[in-house]
Each structure stands twice: as structure tokens, then as C-alpha cells.
Amino acid sequence: MIEFRGVTKTYNAGQPAVEDLDLEIGEGEIVALVGTSGCGKTTTLKMVNRMVEPDRGEVRVQGKSVMEMDPISLRRSIGYVIQEIGLFPHWRVAANIEAVPKLLGWEAGRRMERRDALLRMVGLEPSAYASKYPDELSGGQRQRVGFARALAADPSILLMDEPFGALDPITRRRLRAELGSLCRQLKKTVLFVTHDPVEALLLGDRIAVMDAGRLCQVGTPRQIRGQPASELVRELMTIEAPA
């Protein structure tokens, strides 16, 4: 589904942000990218939809190298969720969700139908929320809308960058459970970035731990917790007791 083969990316002749990365994400699999800030996890994510282009190696999506695909249609075929800020503040919830279908040229009726179905799916009543602006929503609601937007054109792949990063702990926990099971239900292939070990352990079928641009370990939550490949992996995956 998504394959990285010997991928290296260096910004402005510095230390490589990602170095010699090999990783495969299977169909319907949910993989968490974990690591400290600056470890290259967001760069890795962005190479899937060609927001960032690799210097060496190859990124393949559904068997095809992304460098041979048209970046615009590639991006429209992949769902993308970032922290709540990604909603367009001058657009209503409806327009935000319909963004990709509109780019794809769906007619208005089909777009509306899809939008209402998605709003219900993420637990927001269409009649109450479709015509609101993002700043009239709570953080959790905004994140739901962002998630609905990513699903709008029914992509088989979802990329998420710290999707629950900006939420309070209670909302985060609820949304994590809800949207996580939704991903699984819909059989989406998901690659998501987080620095929260709990999130990675709960949502990921597998976890890829990165440090300084390199992959330290890939494995199931059980493997990562049971046999951490290094002290760093152990430390990154340590769950702090609630204070």
C-alpha cells in the first residue's frame, strides 16, 4: 500500500531529516510514527503525498512511485489531517468538508449528501454544524470536522500529523477511541505521527520508532513494549504515570 525504499531526504545540505528509510504499510493497516521532535517523522509523512520529495530512494503508493504520479491528483486521493489549525477559518464547516469533493468536481447534491453523512459519522448533527464557522466550534469539534474533511472523497489512505495534539486530555481520549475505531471500521490505511506513546500503543497495529532521521524499530505494540531494540525506544515508549 505505502512503501518506503531506501528513502533519504536532506534539507539545505544539513544533517539528513530522513536517512535510508525502509518501511512498508500494508492495506488497512494503521502505523504510528513515533519519535522526538525533529526526528523526521513529519517529513516521512509528507513524502507520501509528495508535499516533500525524497532526494534518494523511492516512495510507492499502491505499487506506483509517487514521483511518477501527478502530485495534485495524488494528494486529492489521500486524506490528510493535521492539528485543528488546518480548517480554513473563512469557510463554513460545510465548505471545509466539501473541499476535496469540490476540487474533484462533484456536483452540489452529491457533495451535500456526502457532507451530511460524514458529519453524522463523526458525531456532529449536520443541521446544527454545517453552517458554522470553525471558530464557533470547540477544539474537539474542529478536530472531528478536520477528520470528516479528510474522509470526504473516500480515500483509501489517511495521513495524520499529531491529530489529537491540541486537545485536552478528556476530549483527546474520547476522540482517539472514536476515530480510531472508525478508521478500522472503514478499513483505511493510516500512517499517523505522534509523540504520545499511549496514542501509538492504542491506535497502531504497528509502531515505527524514529530517531535522528533513522528508523530504530518497527513492530507491534507488544513487540515494541516487550523487546525494545534500544534504550531510546524504551524511553520513548515509556508511559508516564498520571500526576
Partner: protein, 209 residues
Amino acid sequence: MILSTVLRLTLQHLLLVALSTTASVLVGIPAGILLTRNERFARPALAFANILQTIPSLALFGLLIPLPFLGGLGTRTAIVALILYALLPIVRNTYTGIRSIDRALSETATALGMTDLQRLRSVELPLALPVIFAGIRIATVIGVGTATIAAAIGAGGLGELIFRGLAMVDNRLILAGALPAAALALLLDAALHRVESALTQRRHRQEVQ
């Protein structure tokens, strides 16, 4: 008689400002957009526009006179000079307005699969509009003031009364030119302010809540 003269010169003045500001908008906004796409040129280009702004207007009018095509005595030269003055606030505000949009938003637009043009039209320009519009307002108000000096090279406008009043040491004549000019500046500022809030109504509505 004097009233009809004031009226005629006011209209002439308005025309000078309208023509030059419109031209500046047509050139300045695309230029500002291009600068956001070519960061390397942004700094030198804005510095150059800044320098243009510091040339005393009387000197600029004078400097333009000997130039072929652009120069000479009269309206055309005045409009060229006024365009040069109006350019900086418009280019700078367009550039800054787009640049100050949250990076995450432009990035999201790209990630959703918008082309550069779609992103510009549906995300960057609408969000930068208040800042761009503020630039147009500044340019217009500056233009009304600078256009009074255009009379020095025979371009007409309310400056004619002011220069005549200065020459004849007649305060009433000076005021007959200066007061309508001030009124014109205030009026245009208010009018553009209204257009601006109409255009950004939705965002205003949000801020009120």
C-alpha cells in the same frame, strides 16, 4: 466662479488619484503575489520600493520630466509618479498579508490537492484581503496628498489653487485648494473602509461573537 473652479479641480484631482491608484492595484497586487513565490527577490524588491518612497515628490516629478515616453510636462508624468508612490504600500501589504497567513493553512490547502492558483484564490487572497485592502487605503490617501504637488508640472488638480495662493500670498486661495484635498482624503478613506468591511463581513461577524 471660484466654486466651479474648485469643483473642476477637485474632479481633476480625483481622476489623477483614481487612475494612478487603480494602475497601482493592477500592478502591485500581482507583483506582491509574485514576491511571495520568489522569496529571493522579495527583500531587494521591497527595498527598492522603499527607496522610491523616500524621494521627495517634487524631486520625483522633476526627475521624470526629461524621461522619454514616461516624462514630459503634464498629466501623464504626474500619473507615473503617483503610481510609483502608491506601489509600495500595495506591494508590501499584499506580500506581508499573504506571508503572514498561518503556514499550516497554506500547507493544508496544498495537501488537500489545490493547485497553486486554487490555493491563492480560495485561501491566500481571501485571508490576506484585510491587509491588502489596508494597503490600498494607505496608497489612496497618500495619493490625494501627493497629487497636490502634481500641479507643479502642469497636471492640474487642487494643487493649482495651492500653488497660485502661495505665489499670490493669498491664504484664501491656499485654503480653497487644501480644504477640498483634505476632505477628499477623508472621504475616500471612509468609502474604502466601508468596501473593506463589506468584503470581509463574514470574518467581522465572527470577531463580534
